[in-house]
């Protein structure tokens, strides 16, 4: 795979990487046991590349970063939250049939 563009975020770095980010942040909550999460990964990488500089794409391993996962009440993965200025503005649950386009449609109104 090409260079990894997703930023791995932990309980400790969530505040600085996500909440205080200057650009909108798409956060992917995933776990190693989750097939659809692994299937979604190349699409998220692609989006990170296409929106570089306008959007940050992060991932949170819910198996390890339990504080963040439980604070955001993650009950189903993959779940993606779009943060802008520290607030959740969109929530996308699961991998839809037209995943890439569905994600872009939700992201586009919030990026420059």
């Amino acid at each position: 795979m090409a260079e990894e563009k997703l930023v791995n975020v932990t309980d400790d770095s969530f505040e600085s990487e996500v909440l205080q980010s200057d650009v909108p942040v798409l956060v992917d909550y995933w776990a190693p046991w989750c097939g659809p999460c692994r299937m979604a990964a190349p699409v998220l990488e692609k989006i990170a590349g296409e929106y570089e500089g306008r959007l940050k794409v992060c991932k949170v391993n819910v198996d390890e970063e339990r504080q963040v996962a439980s604070k955001h009440r993650i009950m189903s993965i993959p779940t993606m939250f779009l943060f802008k200025d520290g607030q959740v503005v969109e929530q996308i649950v699961g991998v839809t049939p037209n995943f890439e386009n569905d994600l872009k449609r939700r992201i586009d109104p919030y990026v420059e």
């Binding site: 776990a31 046991w33 097939g35 659809p36 009950m75 991998v95 049939p97 995943f99």
Partner: protein, 332 residues
């Protein structure tokens, strides 16, 4: 915009697509697989396969990884994260596979686009699914979030039973709701489930002849409404989550207006040579009419399409000829 020519473009990197690619690539046909996510398809989400002949037991990702390596070792290219959006027959007989702004030109195409989970279609389902607050279609993904909680699973096929057994490793109580008396699943699985349910202190409750008519709760799932098919009586049944395994629907939405589909969205093929209504375009696996939706049958379809493709290359007019025993595959 990119226009690149291939002998075979295979849409979908699940078992059908990978099996087809192993055959076309071994035949030195320039082969490209376009996969909208990561190679694997539905089987990628299965942690327990024990009905694939020759392999006693394996998990989906491991099997797929081997299939992918095998296809690539013969020269097949796999492009992941490429969502095919359209299909077009060109005047010179080639087929254009449209991927957003890119187009791939192929002498032949195998549509191996698979299927996705079916929804139950009851009030509350979509709302809780969207919010991620208690409706799931993937037990292996979400079971760990239900440690010490109570869940309802719905369905009667292989997936429903495998996933229910998986949920039992985490949840405090699992209730399997099935609309019929008998399970459609393989008998081995149904017996395992019944045995699990009749253990003393079992965490499993089986409710047959029962349907879920609504999913309810304030902000998160708190109960389902159940109706007995035989007596019609209804009850509110408390639970923290609902796992739905009620079959699959083909991923053929983007094909409307190209190849012929059935009323339920499956691709029409002749079922012997897997030819669709568009010359040069084959369909294989879960997405075609009459699909058994099994790993082994998907693999068989991919192989079948890869072999019959050669007859099409030799004689394009063959496309419109009826199924016949005049040309046997061994003679191709």
């Amino acid at each position: 915009m990119v226009d690149t020519a291939y002998d075979a473009v295979i849409v979908g990197g699940g078992p059908a697509g990978l099996a087809g690619a192993i055959y076309t690539a071994r035949d030195r046909l320039k082969t490209l697989i376009l996969e909208r996510m990561i190679a694997g398809g539905q089987i990628y989400n299965t942690d327990r396969i024990e009905n694939y002949p020759g392999i006693v037991r394996i998990d989906g990702p491991t099997l797929i990884e081997q299939m992918q390596k095998q296809a690539e070792s013969f020269g097949a290219q796999i492009r992941q994260g490429n969502d095919v959006t359209g299909l077009e027959k060109l005047p010179d007989g080639m087929v254009a596979v449209v991927c957003g702004r890119d187009r791939y030109i192929a002498r032949a195409v195998i549509l191996a686009i698979g299927s996705s989970y079916r929804k139950l279609g009851v009030p509350g389902e979509e709302e809780f699914r969207r919010a991620g607050t208690g409706v799931s279609y993937c037990g292996t993904c979400d079971a760990p979030f239900y440690r010490e909680r109570e869940v309802v699973s719905v369905g009667g096929g292989n997936t429903a039973i495998e996933e229910t057994l998986h949920l039992l490793k985490y949840a405090r109580k699992v209730t399997l709701v099935h609309r019929r008396e008998e399970f459609r699943a393989d008998k081995v699985l149904a017996e395992e489930l019944r045995a699990e349910g009749s253990k003393p202190d079992s965490k499993l409750v089986i409710k047959c002849d029962t349907v879920v008519t609504a999913i309810q709760g304030d902000g998160r799932v708190q109960s389902v409404k159940l109706r007995s098919v035989k007596t019609g009586t209804e009850e509110d049944y408390p639970c923290d989550g609902v796992f739905i395994f009620v079959g699959m629907v083909p991923n053929t939405g983007f094909l409307k207006g190209t190849v012929q589909l059935t009323e339920h969205g499956f691709i029409r093929v002749d079922c012997a040579y897997l030819r669709t209504s568009m010359p040069g375009v084959f369909a294989a696996g879960d997405c075609r009419i009459g699909a058994a939706m099994q790993l082994a049958t998907a693999v068989a379809d991919g192989v079948n399409a890869a072999i019959t493709m050669k007859q099409y290359f030799r004689d394009p007019a063959w496309w419109h000829k009826p199924v016949t025993d005049e040309i046997q595959p061994s003679g191709w």
